[in-house]
């Protein structure tokens, strides 16, 4: 039986780490952390947001411990090899690759994962105003990088 949300967590982790193996390690560590601290989870709150928050905290915790480690590979490397990838997918991924990581994070959480601004604010532990401005800047930057012709469609 699949662990709930592990696929979505892995998809997000791949884009955080830019490395499939590192992303799998990160998700594994985050899920174990969630299992250990499950007693702290408030039943009426959103378990998806809680899991993503743990993932983000684990990622930045690792980053602090091991600043020199991340070897950046193109974000889209994993997806690029897939048969289903289309020009459109690659174009969007390339544009996303070029965004600053804080804009990429809020776009992935707010748009792709469908979290509200206030949920993103809790997941990333940043004020909601910061999330809103990062989202606006991210959307604008993404639009500028994407082909204006395809934009018009």
């Amino acid at each position: 039986m699949a662990i709930p949300q592990s696929g979505r967590l892995l998809r997000f982790a791949c884009r955080l780490t830019n490395d499939r193996a590192a992303a799998e390690d990160l998700v594994q560590e985050a899920l174990l952390q969630a299992w250990r601290s499950f007693h702290q989870f408030a039943p009426q709150s959103n378990i998806r947001a809680w899991l993503f928050r743990i993932l983000v905290n684990t990622f930045y915790g690792q980053g602090r411990k091991n600043r020199l480690a991340p070897v950046m590979v193109p974000l889209s490397a994993g997806i690029r090899s897939r048969a289903v990838s289309t020009d459109e997918t690659l174009e969007v991924l390339d544009a996303l690759d070029q965004l600053p990581s804080e804009q990429r994070e809020v776009l992935l959480l707010g748009v792709l994962e469908g979290f509200t601004c206030s949920e993103v604010s809790k997941i990333l532990s940043v004020p909601i105003g910061t999330v809103m401005s990062r989202l606006s800047r991210g959307r604008r930057a993404l639009r500028e990088k994407l082909n204006p012709v395809s934009l018009a469609t």
């Binding site: 592990s6 998700v27 594994q28 299992w35 897939r82 459109e88 979290f115 509200t116 989202l135």
Partner: protein
């Protein structure tokens, strides 16, 4: 709401977090402002492209899920083992303390055994029955010669004495007769040994240990707690 407000509030509008008057004001502005309406349309189309291009694929996590489950099982097992170790240590400590605090000091057990063997069962020993000989033994432990006979309560008589060892220490063993009962009194110089507050039952014997400034003594009486206590009180007053 002006165009700057729309630009600021757009993320909330797109994530459906605006409601009531805020939402109405936002939509009223869009109805009347073509620039803002187009801007929001563009943002919606960007979101749609993002979702359509990378949102549809969710990676396969079968191996990852399995690895997580294995690790959880391992952690559970380690925790269970740790719990069992701690539980065993606690049981051991509790049982050990219970034994420690309720155990009979070896010297009491030795005294009770000697009384049973030598006085009750009359196993052959080299007893001294002459008063002069008993007094000589008593002198070796610093007991005044005259006090030996007076150690027993009124009505009891000194029968005989010998030197024996309790818990490896030399002790003067005095035996008194009181009615049909024989009572043992073991005396040695005060060595700080433990004292009982009340006679304790060791096997079939009541044992009362007490200390004075100069002597440590143990009274053993078979079957009678009162007699044991009475004898110990009399002896303690003399010693």
């Amino acid at each position: 709401m002006n165009c700057a407000d729309i630009s600021e509030q757009a993320p909330l509008y797109l994530s459906h977090e605006l409601s009531g008057p805020e939402l109405r004001a936002f939509e009223t502005h869009l109805d009347g402002c073509r620039t803002c309406a187009e801007e929001i349309e563009l943002q919606i189309s960007i979101d749609a492209r993002l979702r359509a291009s990378i949102g549809a694929e969710i990676p396969n996590t079968a191996e990852l899920d399995q690895a997580v489950r294995r690790q959880i099982q391992m952690i559970s097992l380690t925790r269970r083992r740790r719990f069992m170790t701690v539980a065993a240590a606690i049981v051991f400590l509790v049982a050990g303390s219970a034994w420690w605090f309720t155990r009979v000091p070896r010297i009491y057990a030795d005294a009770a055994r000697d009384h049973q063997a030598e006085v009750i069962e009359h196993q052959p020993r080299r007893w001294r029955s002459e008063l002069a000989e008993v007094n000589a033994l008593a002198a070796r432990f610093g007991l005044p010669a005259s006090s030996v006979a007076a150690l027993g309560p009124a009505g009891s008589i000194l029968v005989h004495a010998r030197i024996c060892r309790l818990d490896g220490k030399p002790v003067l063993h005095l035996v008194y007769q009181s009615g049909t009962r024989e009572i043992s009194l073991f005396v040695r110089r005060n060595d700080g040994g433990a004292a009982t507050n009340t006679p304790v039952l060791v096997g079939r014997e009541y044992v009362e240990a007490f200390r004075t400034t100069r002597f440590s003594a143990i009274v053993v009486a078979a079957g009678s707690r009162t007699e044991c206590l009475h004898f110990a009180q009399t002896a303690a007053a003399v010693l």
